[in-house]
Symmetry: C2
Subunit: 320 residues, 2 copies
């Protein structure tokens, strides 16, 4: 079966296969080759608060076919409990344990390593709620604006809490100079852990406005601290270890669906999953063509095995 | 003449020469080999608002010996006019044309290339005052806090000014999410120029507080925009071109004094100046030893020809 409208027709030289160009038999083999399907959210299932039409039907169909589903999102602004509401509102089936948000995974990571100190959170309540659930102390989130001059901030106003043993940086629309200063100062101690929920540069956007992602906040702190963080979200390897350890998944029988090369697809490549890119978010076919030409292993790792315009296009191909 | 207290005694293997360990004759040759002396300010002449004792005497002595002096500072928070006050208050002789601040040089650069559009300034009045002097239009500086939710910010509150043709990023203690979003959005247009006054990661600090520098702001914008800026300040090459073109300096008869390897000294190395590091600021002898071991050309370029504990130590060595 060949989809006439499929963009792949014009891109004959690409190694990435257009999923809708496969014949019925190949589609069936493709679907049967997976027990587990991981999917990104922003740009695949929804854009901001709007459903990407048909994405819910596709995911629910995968589930009905007996696939184990995990929603893997780098967005740290919500706790898993809060995500459940969003999933249900947009017509997805989801349980807490299927939601692997970078906020949850960050708390999980600290819990796994037996962290007992306090966390300086440069982020939002999505992170602190997950820390609360595993009983890890943390600073409060919210605005911390620059209200004095720099001299005062440095000399007397900034008190560092000696209990802090980790800094978690995530998305924080209340980024401020005092927060960068505090994060950088805690990280001066080489024993202080430095975690980033994720390093996405931008959120998917349909307008001419570029919407800065957590990566911009992380970049500021990284520069100030002169250190690189452990990235908990995609494409960091903690997710793979977590999925294998807690859910006993078989990487070779796992599909990763995403809209972004350097997070979703790179994670899949690194973990030995098959990868499927949708074109409803950040990355495009032009990007894939560029990455294919690279000599850089990391950039080559952004090239997906398959692509499809939108998840909705997959639905008619699936076995009934 | 050997200074007994000189740290160099313990660092016998370093290639960088301790200036105070030179004999009288070598010191005289050293001084006579320069017509022009460039010096950094923060960490060499002062720390914040406090004079580094003796730095003024050293600079004034160089001047009395007939050296042409330029103060080269990456700090963009003041205009040249404002710097004059600071120099005089701390006992330095200085005229406007001797002060090469990154704020002044940024305005100068745009003027040199005949820039006629408007500048989005992510920085302070140090930059806008210098833009005013060369008649370049710009946005206003000051707080631009996150006062609505992200959806509103993206959908309706952010109006991009079609006149903007350049973004200048400098130090801005009022860093905010809306500012990063606007800078990133303007820079989506590949014709929009992207200038950074400087990329210093931190200010020199004597306390346990790490004071974020302009580099942290630039890193956030760079991440959001997915582009690298032209760096106007040290170690960018615009300064060299400016000094040769406007002041006809001879790089081979020029000394660059600084406290930081990756700005001051790297600039000197790139420009063919001789370099002298003082240990009153950011970098240390341990840093120099590390850099000397590197294979990276840029890191090797941070290694100074000479070092001295403090500029005050140079004074007794100078010819009367």
């Amino acid at each position: 079966m060949t989809s006439i409208g499929c963009v792949c027709m014009a891109k004959g030289t690409m190694k990435t296969i257009c999923l809708t160009s496969l014949g019925k038999h190949d589609i069936k083999s493709f679907i049967n080759s997976f027990d587990t399907i991981l999917t990104d959210c922003d740009g695949v299932l929804w854009l901001g608060s709007e459903l990407i039409p048909g994405a819910n039907i596709a995911l629910n169909t995968f589930r009905n076919l007996g696939k184990k589903i995990f929603y893997v999102t780098n967005n740290s602004t919500k706790s898993r409990e809060e995500y459940i509401d969003k999933f249900r509102k947009l017509g997805f089936v989801a349980s807490e344990e299927e939601i692997l948000s970078s906020s949850y995974l960050s708390a999980r990571y600290l819990n796994d390593i037996g962290f007992k100190k306090k966390v300086y959170v440069f982020g939002t309540s999505g992170i602190t709620k997950e820390l609360d659930k595993v009983g890890i102390h943390h600073t409060e989130v919210g605005p911390d604006p620059m209200v004095c001059d720099m001299g005062t901030l440095v000399s007397s106003k900034t008190k560092l809490d000696p209990e802090i043993g980790a800094v978690i940086v995530g998305f924080d629309e209340q980024i401020s100079y005092p927060k960068i200063l505090k994060a950088g100062s805690y990280l001066k101690n080489p024993d202080c852990l430095f975690l980033a929920t994720n390093t996405d540069q931008q959120f998917p956007s349909k307008s001419n406005i570029v919407i800065p992602g957590a990566g911009c906040i992380v970049a500021a702190v990284e520069c100030c601290a002169g250190r690189k963080p452990k990235v908990i979200g995609k494409p960091g390897d903690y997710i793979r270890d977590y999925l294998i350890k807690k859910h006993n998944i078989n990487p070779q029988r796992t599909l990763m669906i995403g809209d972004r090369g350097n997070t979703d697809i790179l994670l899949g490549t690194r973990c030995g999953f098959k990868t499927l890119m949708v074109l409803t978010g950040v990355s495009s076919l032009v990007d894939i063509e560029q990455w294919e030409k690279s000599d850089d292993k990391e950039i080559l790792g952004c090239v997906p095995n398959y692509y499809v315009n939108t998840l909705a296009d997959v639905v008619p191909l699936l076995p009934k």
